[in-house]
């Protein structure tokens, strides 16, 4: 099957695939930043002591986690114009991806913070550090180490999820591959080119996570 | 019953068993001691094929260990007690004891349970039949592990440092069970530093160092007049703890 690949057509569409690849990178990077901001905010709300401030964070995280990204995407895509907000598809996509990944990031950061032994906080208390000082100087630096790998994992999920934006006609890697399929009736060539693009991103991030883990695991804690 | 002749084993370039020759007769109780890394655990792990070896011959109850097909049957004849108990955490004490008899020996559940209850009673755990391992103390867990091995009605029992993971106050409850077993005539090889146990029931004590058997002697000679300097050195260290 792969022997019959029309590499000439694939090369001919290389510029479009490359553009799609870059668009996927850009979309994912922008959404990653947005998700990070939302994740930190939601996590900060979820771990602070006031119940009525925790509620919105919990509702946000659970609502996102219990519904599919595609439904969230359509919710914004078909819903925002109703509110008189007309945005380009790409921006809608970035908002949807940020909202979606933000909820997962909040969970990742939260479990990172909860993984810090209670004794660390108590040691900080006993030396007279305030809540914010304990967070900034003791808890967060340690929590960050354990969250890097899952955050990279979330980045991989984000990149793959961004393919759904092709369904609201954002031109990215998946959409670019479909162009070969549609223009030339060559779905195999289009999908192979697309898959290769994602595989590259996957292996780069996966080895980055591995390298980071190897270098930064805390001595004595694996 | 157990016959090593010229057995050698390497871990990569590390020579862990050097030219071991040793015979253990039926009903004999042999205690193996030596510093850590001397190869004593490896020695008894070879006897039921938990560790392969590279050269030499090992006969257990007439079966050549080189015969991988006979190994499975042989293991049912040789009980093994681990330093870290290795009880199955998802099974109760009684289920731990009856699992292999039911699935390997093909006993009926009723038969296996009858046998298992009797053995748990024998090791003093009649009231712990339905407890899970995490609900038991270390000494109790190790006694369940001994009952688990006995339930297969083995001809030989091997013990790999059975008391070294235990708190001091629990060591005796396990040793008492082992002494009882020795007095019943079980063939036993025991890797341990419990010299009181060796004095009481061992027929022979073996001292190993750097993969080789340095000295073999009956306990009275071993403790009062060891022949080798290395044995004396080792004994003075562990007896003065």
């Amino acid at each position: 099957m792969l022997g019959g690949l029309n590499t000439r057509v694939m090369l001919e569409y290389l510029p479009e695939i490359w553009q799609g690849f870059l668009a996927t990178l850009f979309l994912s990077a922008a959404s990653f930043v947005g998700a990070m901001v939302l994740g930190v905010l939601a996590c900060a709300l979820a771990i602070q002591p006031l119940r009525w401030l925790r509620a919105p964070a919990v509702v946000y995280v659970d609502a996102i986690r219990a519904t599919p990204l595609l439904a969230q995407l359509y919710f914004l895509y078909f819903g925002l114009p109703r509110l008189g907000v007309v945005l380009p598809e790409m921006l809608i996509g970035i908002i949807a991806l940020s909202l979606n990944s933000g909820a997962y990031m909040a969970e990742i950061i939260r479990s990172g913070i909860l993984s810090i032994p209670r004794g660390q906080v108590e040691a900080g208390m006993s030396t007279g550090l305030s809540y914010l000082q304990r967070m900034r100087l003791i808890v967060l630096p340690q929590a960050l180490r354990v969250t890097v790998s899952p955050l990279i994992g979330q980045a991989i999920v984000l990149i793959k999820d961004s393919s759904l934006l092709s369904l609201i006609s954002v031109v990215e890697l998946t959409r670019a591959g479909q162009r070969i399929a549609i223009d030339r009736f060559m779905p195999v060539e289009g999908l192979v080119a697309t898959a290769l693009g994602y595989l590259v991103l996957y292996y780069v991030l996966k080895s980055a996570a591995g390298a980071w883990q190897a270098r930064n695991s805390l001595p004595g804690r694996g | 019953m157990i016959e090593f002749s010229g057995v050698n084993k390497w871990f990569g370039s590390l020579h862990v068993l050097r030219d071991i020759s040793l015979t253990v007769a039926r009903g004999e109780v042999v205690v193996v001691c030596g510093p850590s890394g001397s190869g004593k655990s490896t020695l008894i792990r070879c006897i039921n094929g938990l560790e392969p070896f590279q050269s030499g011959r090992l006969l257990v109850d007439g079966t050549d260990l080189a015969d991988r097909k006979a190994l499975l049957r042989l293991r049912t004849e040789v009980g093994f007690v681990f330093q870290s108990f290795n009880l199955y955490p998802h099974k109760t004490a009684l289920e731990n004891v009856t699992l292999a008899p039911i699935h390997v020996r093909r006993l009926s559940r009723a038969q296996a349970e009858e046998r298992g209850r009797a053995l748990l009673e024998k090791v003093g755990l009649a009231d712990k039949m339905d407890s899970y391992p995490h609900q038991l103390s270390g000494g109790q867990q190790q006694r369940v592990a001994i009952a688990r091995s006995l339930c297969m009605q083995p001809k030989i029992m091997l013990f790999d440092e059975p008391t070294s993971a235990l708190d001091p106050e629990m060591i005796n409850e396990v040793l008492d069970v082992m002494v009882g077993l020795a007095r019943e005539g079980m063939t036993m090889m025991v890797v341990t530093h419990e010299m009181g146990f060796a004095r009481k029931v061992a027929d022979r004590v073996i001292f190993m160092d750097r993969g080789a058997i340095v000295e073999t002697a009956p306990p009275e000679t071993f403790f009062t007049a060891p022949a080798h300097a290395r044995t004396r050195d080792f004994l003075s260290k562990i007896l003065h703890q």
């Binding site: 439904a71 919710f75 793959k160 591959g177 697309t194 994602y198 | 009980g79 290795n86």
Partner: protein, 220 residues
């Protein structure tokens, strides 16, 4: 105004109901197949045959690396080229269960490796065959370790099933997409669709969290 739209949307309730049924049916069927194959994958991945484990690892990596949408297209558009024609439903089941099997396979492999080696040694020492060790001693413990992540995986599978709407399968998401063409209020329509998913997924998320907490408390 909102009531007006709500009334119109509920005029479409048979479509919504059909979509919900499809989402549940598709997910359940793929779940059963995916779990069965996934356990097989896991045993091979954690097994002693290095080459089989590595070859399977490459296959699994491919499906972990590419978006599910691309996988759905591969099943729907490439398989017919090698003579395997599938209906949209069958294509959905194949793609979903295959992806689930890949993710579950890695979870199962990790669970098997997390069981202490002393456990299979003890089983070995009592004369059990490799199959008996796996069935009676190692797998039951691995299953306890991985149950929370497995349930989490089920939630992902249900949500991923929405992607199959892209090849025209009338699931819950697709039913929303159809309704929004004639009732132009995306917030309400997909709000209702979201509630549908929430009803299915939220109990599972809750269950997964509880299992996780219980596992930490009781087992170790």
């Amino acid at each position: 105004m909102v009531w007006f739209y709500l009334e119109r949307i509920f005029g479409y309730w048979p479509v919504l109901l059909k979509g919900m049924g499809m989402t549940i049916g598709l997910s359940l069927l793929s779940l059963v197949i995916g779990v069965a194959i996934g356990f097989g994958f896991g045993i091979i991945r954690a097994g002693r045959n290095r080459w089989a484990a590595r070859a399977l690892g490459l296959y699994i990596d491919f499906f972990r690396a590419t978006p599910f949408l691309v996988q759905v297209f591969i099943v729907f558009f490439i398989l017919p080229q090698v003579g395997i024609e599938l209906s949209a439903f069958a294509a959905g089941v194949v793609a979903l269960s295959n992806m689930a099997a890949c993710f579950i396979g890695e979870i199962v492999a990790a669970g098997l490796k997390a069981v202490p080696p002393g456990q299979s040694e003890a089983a070995l020492a009592s004369g059990m065959t490799r199959a008996q060790q796996m069935r009676l001693v190692v797998m039951p413990q691995a299953v306890r370790i991985i149950t929370p992540s497995l349930v989490g995986q089920f939630v992902l599978l249900i949500k991923d099933s929405s992607v199959v709407s892209a090849i025209g399968l009338l699931d819950l998401t697709r039913s929303g997409w159809l309704i929004v063409q004639s009732v132009p209020n995306g917030l309400l329509v997909f709000g209702i669709v979201g509630v549908g998913y929430f009803i299915i997924c939220y109990p599972l998320i809750h269950l997964s969290r509880r299992l996780e907490r219980r596992g930490q408390a009781a087992f170790l």
